[in-house]
Amino acid sequence: MIKVQNLAKNFGAKRAVDGVSFSVERGEVLGFLGPNGAGKSTTMRMITGFIPPSEGTVSVGGFDIVEHPIEVRRMIGYLPENAPAYTDMTVHGFLNFAAEIRGLRGEAKTKAVSRVVEMCFLDAVLHQSVETLSKGYRHRTCFAQSIIHDPDVLVLDEPTDGLDPNQKHEVRGLIRKMGEKKAIIFSTHILEEVDAVCSRAIIIDRGKIVANGTPQQLRQKSEWAGAVMLRVSGINSAALNQKLLQLPTVKRLTVLREDATSVTARVFPKSEVNGALAANIADAAQGWHIEELHTEEGRLDEVFRSITMPDTATQSAVK
């Protein structure tokens, strides 16, 4: 549905987006990750046609964004960053306006409005002015606007920003459900969201894509992926260190915590022999007692940090 090729955007001398290419198909939810100022919003603004690209092309549903902007916009529902809405209107008036400008009239309009009101739980504030809404309601009002025409493509810029945990949960549920039939791109810097919602994630840093894959694949890029977490009692760290380094599969280990009764350590494998490492350690346990032993999947936040801030990530790993 969405095809982005070598997309770039210059703001004066600054290159905000630098040669980004990816595609999203129907039924996919693509998570767009990256630190603040990485170019997430700029990329989304180019996809929705708000700002023209400096280089590269975007096509949505086969239509080029520059040559057929109106056709593209018809297909897209867009929730801009900070969820702007006309503050002088009531929620009902605002949604009616959104429906009308999307070409809905009469009964179709009434139906569309009541559908999104129900989906986004806006009943309670329907006749309240947008100005007086709490942030969560305002966010959902703008979200409702983006899905009022049941678009094939949804572009959501930080859809859960500023919501409380319950609202976040609701919005994630909505995105996941809609992702079954639509092509969705959403940006976030909350990593747990990627696991909860995305079928695929892209990490973007300084305008470039630095990682692209399923959440599972991304996690495996972690240094910790395949490492074994170990908590033992009846042995001190020096002895543990010596014993484990004798094992052929162990590359190194870091002691995370040691107290009177137990030692907690992270053991790194020599190569990609994840399963074997835990088994080997279990076999080597003689005279000491294993309290906890598991192979780590790798953590997204660690991947995120090591990709977007290479220097600090290695430092913390050394620690």
Binding site: F50, A85, F97, I101
Partner: protein
């Protein structure tokens, strides 16, 4: 067809926005008070002893509009940019032109409503004497066109900034130029040193010169064209400025 439907939707929303905020009512009250005060007290409506609205009523309009129209137009785009709704509006399936024209029409209609509410003055002058109502009608038409021209200029300045106050001040200055270019004292000053062709060129840019015909009941196509082309040019400039912002 589709174009007009889109413009209508935008216009309806904008016009609604005026009347849900106190701005509309404040504006209308101030405008009517000013009209009444200047016509009867300063303009000497009764002292003149003639059944005409030309001098006591319409003469003041270019000056009222100088401050009132930029106050109406300043929020048009500045507010959209400040709140961020411009991002919603310009990613809807409409062209930038439709949005610009829709917003402009809403404000212009609003000014028209305010102008129509001065109708008691027409009733008064008809009650007291027998004026030429054709002249009055053409005066109203000219006044509305002039308001539209000021408004279009305010559209440009509103698109230039996200600060409404800056927009207001800049458009007052520009509108002032369009008044002063035909203001008799300024013309006399110019005649002192500039050649007649230069004076003519400058005065031909003045809204006062072109409004004068309407006041006298003369519907000159050149005057109509002047106001319409000023509006067209200003709205075009607005679209260029909006595109410039987005291109970065």
């Amino acid at each position: 067809m589709n174009t007009w439907a889109n413009i209508k939707t935008i216009t309806k929303r904008e016009l609604g926005a005026y009347f849900t905020s106190p701005l509309a009512y404040v504006f209308i009250v101030i405008f009517l008070l000013l009209c009444g005060f200047f016509t009867f007290m300063v303009g000497g409506f009764f002292e003149r002893g003639e059944a005409s609205l030309v001098r006591p009523f319409f003469d003041w309009h270019p000056w009222f509009y100088l401050f009132l129209v930029p106050a109406v137009g300043m929020r048009l785009w500045a507010e959209e940019r400040r709140v961020g709704t411009i991002e919603l509006l310009l990613t809807m399936p409409i062209t930038a032109w439709q949005a610009i024209v829709g917003k402009f029409l809403a404000s212009w209609l609003f000014l028209g409503i305010a102008l129509l509410l001065t109708f008691p003055i027409v009733i008064t002058v008809n009650y007291l004497g027998s004026p030429d109502n054709g002249v009055i009608l053409s005066g109203y038409l000219g006044s509305w066109l002039m308001a539209g021209a000021y408004l279009a200029i305010s559209c440009i300045t509103s698109a230039m900034t996200r600060n409404q106050v800056v927009s207001f001040i800049v458009s007052v200055v520009i509108c002032l130029f369009f008044i002063l270019a035909g203001f008799p004292p300024i013309i006399r000053l110019l005649e002192g040193w500039a050649g007649p062709w230069l004076v003519d060129t400058i005065t031909s840019f003045s809204v006062i010169t072109h409004f004068d015909g309407f006041q006298k009941g003369v519907l000159d196509s050149r005057d109509v064209l002047f106001f319409l082309s000023l509006i067209g040019f200003s709205l075009f400039s607005t679209s260029v400025i909006l595109r410039g912002h987005r291109a970065g």
